[in-house]
């Protein structure tokens, strides 16, 4: 039997968020406004999706499900851009982030639906939408961290990169160390999740399935599947986005050049 939460339970948790925002404002850490916006968004967005999820899962139209996936990918691509400390140029940045999400999440979800889950029909929304959502949510974090680390480091280590160019290194050699670091930064969240799974954390999806009455072994198998998909998806997504950005960091004469990558 599920214990229902009433308004008082939620407002206690909300009070904690308010306190954190107040503390951050007091210490001038500069996240309180973003924190409040994010908290408001999560409330509204989850309430809305909760209302339509039943209808969505009942849908059998492939066009409609593709349309929903398209919206999910675009929003995730937009979120990657808004997490950056140095803003990427508009459409190009959007193209790179959504493109990398397409490779890392959409294609991997398709592969998983066809080859592993084999639901009937393959696009059954109660499998397709949550799978895509979990992949997008995780890879988006990794990709946003990877881009941010690469661009911040390139900006700060500009003299060192140019020194390498002066010594006759190619653009790719000059930036190889930064690429390695950005890759590591992007992979940290999913590496942590995989290493801690079962020992420190009980993944939400698996726990939910078991609570809802599924056999533990079955739930565990699904969770392992998800973990493998997320890690390979994140890796592919970060690799592709780092490739595009490190190309764009240099002009055709291998000069370090931020103006074709960043907004003024």
């Amino acid at each position: 039997m599920l214990i229902t939460l009433d308004a008082l339970d939620l407002s206690m948790a909300a009070l904690l968020v308010l306190l954190l925002g107040g503390l951050s404002a007091y210490m001038k850490l500069g996240v309180s406004q973003q924190l409040y916006i994010a908290a408001a968004r999560t409330t509204v967005q989850l309430l809305l999706i909760g209302l339509v999820l039943k209808t969505l899962f009942a849908s059998t139209s492939i066009i409609f499900i593709l349309f929903i996936s398209f919206i999910m990918i675009s929003v995730a691509g937009w979120e990657i851009l808004s997490r950056q400390q140095r803003k990427l140029k508009g459409w190009w940045g959007f193209g790179v982030s959504t493109g990398s999400l397409f490779v890392s999440s959409f294609l991997i979800t398709l592969l998983c639906l066809f080859a592993v889950v084999q639901a009937d029909p393959w696009y059954s929304p109660q499998y397709a939408i949550p799978l895509l959502g979990m992949l997008l949510g995780n890879t988006m974090t990794g990709i946003a961290l990877g881009i941010d680390r690469l661009i911040q480091n390139a900006w700060q280590q500009r003299p060192q990169i140019e020194q390498r160019l002066m010594l006759g290194q190619t653009a790719s050699e000059a930036i190889s160390g930064l690429r390695r670091e950005a890759m590591r930064a992007g992979m940290i969240p999913i590496m942590n999740s995989m290493a801690a799974a079962g020992l420190v954390s009980l993944p939400g999806m698996m726990t939910g399935q078991i609570l809802a009455g599924a056999a533990p072994v079955e739930a565990v198998k699904y969770q392992i599947l998800i973990m493998f998909m997320i890690s390979s998806g994140t890796g592919l997504g970060v690799i592709s986005v780092l490739w595009f950005i490190s190309k764009r960091l240099f002009d055709e004469r291998e000069r370090l050049c931020f103006k074709q990558l960043l907004k003024e």
């Binding site: 060192q160 160019l165 002066m166 006759g168 290194q169 291998e254 000069r255």
Partner: protein, 202 residues
């Protein structure tokens, strides 16, 4: 016979910059701070955007892959940068007797290769920066105030070392500096960069 020359080079506010240097020659360049001396060297090494032609013998700068050009036309910037902890990690050919000789000529010994980069003085960085650059055996040296942080004695050692390198390797150099006596001593032609123009000094 190696020659290094530019024809009508334009960048920033500087325009129509032309000169020609023959093998073993040093071209001296001076000018007020902000006149564009360092930017000129960066353009010659193809690190900044510019218009006009730069030639090493018959080779056009823009026809060469940039990293190969920069190995032949090597820029020693006023401030050098280092990324490994120890000095030695930046040098690939430490075991040759020639390298030991070069170290000695600049007033160092092989033991220096174990030094930590963090404790180098700016004068030491400039001299080790030159040695690091010479590993590519460049044909043109672009030196941006290379002895600015050296005392008189070490400046002389540095000058002698560069001249020796130019003779041994059929190379030539552009030397940016403020010390008129020094430039008179080592250069075969001297120029002044002023109001965006290159003026010959007699």
């Amino acid at each position: 016979m190696h020659t290094f020359q530019t024809k009508n080079l334009n960048f920033l506010h500087c325009h129509s910059i032309s000169f020609k240097i023959n093998v073993t020659e040093i071209l001296g360049l001076s000018g007020a701070s902000g006149s564009g001396k360092s930017r000129l060297l960066r353009a010659l090494a193809d690190l900044d955007e510019h218009e006009g032609d730069v030639f090493l013998d018959e080779i056009n700068q823009q026809r060469q892959p940039p990293h190969q050009w920069r190995k032949k036309v090597a820029l020693l910037s006023a401030e050098t940068h280092w990324w490994f902890d120890t000095l030695g990690a930046h040098f690939s050919q430490q075991d040759s007797p020639a390298f030991s000789n070069d170290l000695n000529a600049l007033g160092f010994s092989k033991k220096c290769m174990q030094w930590r980069v963090a404790r180098l003085s700016s004068g030491e960085k400039q001299r080790f920066g030159l040695l690091r650059l010479l590993q590519n055996k460049p044909q043109v040296l672009l030196l941006d105030e290379p002895t600015a942080n050296l005392d008189e004695n070490n400046s002389r050692l540095f000058e002698k070392f560069v001249i020796q390198y130019l003779f041994n390797n059929k190379a030539c150099a552009v030397w940016v500096g403020h010390d008129v006596q020094q430039l008179k001593r080592i250069c075969t032609q001297r120029y002044l960069l002023e109001n965006g123009e290159l003026k010959h000094v007699d």
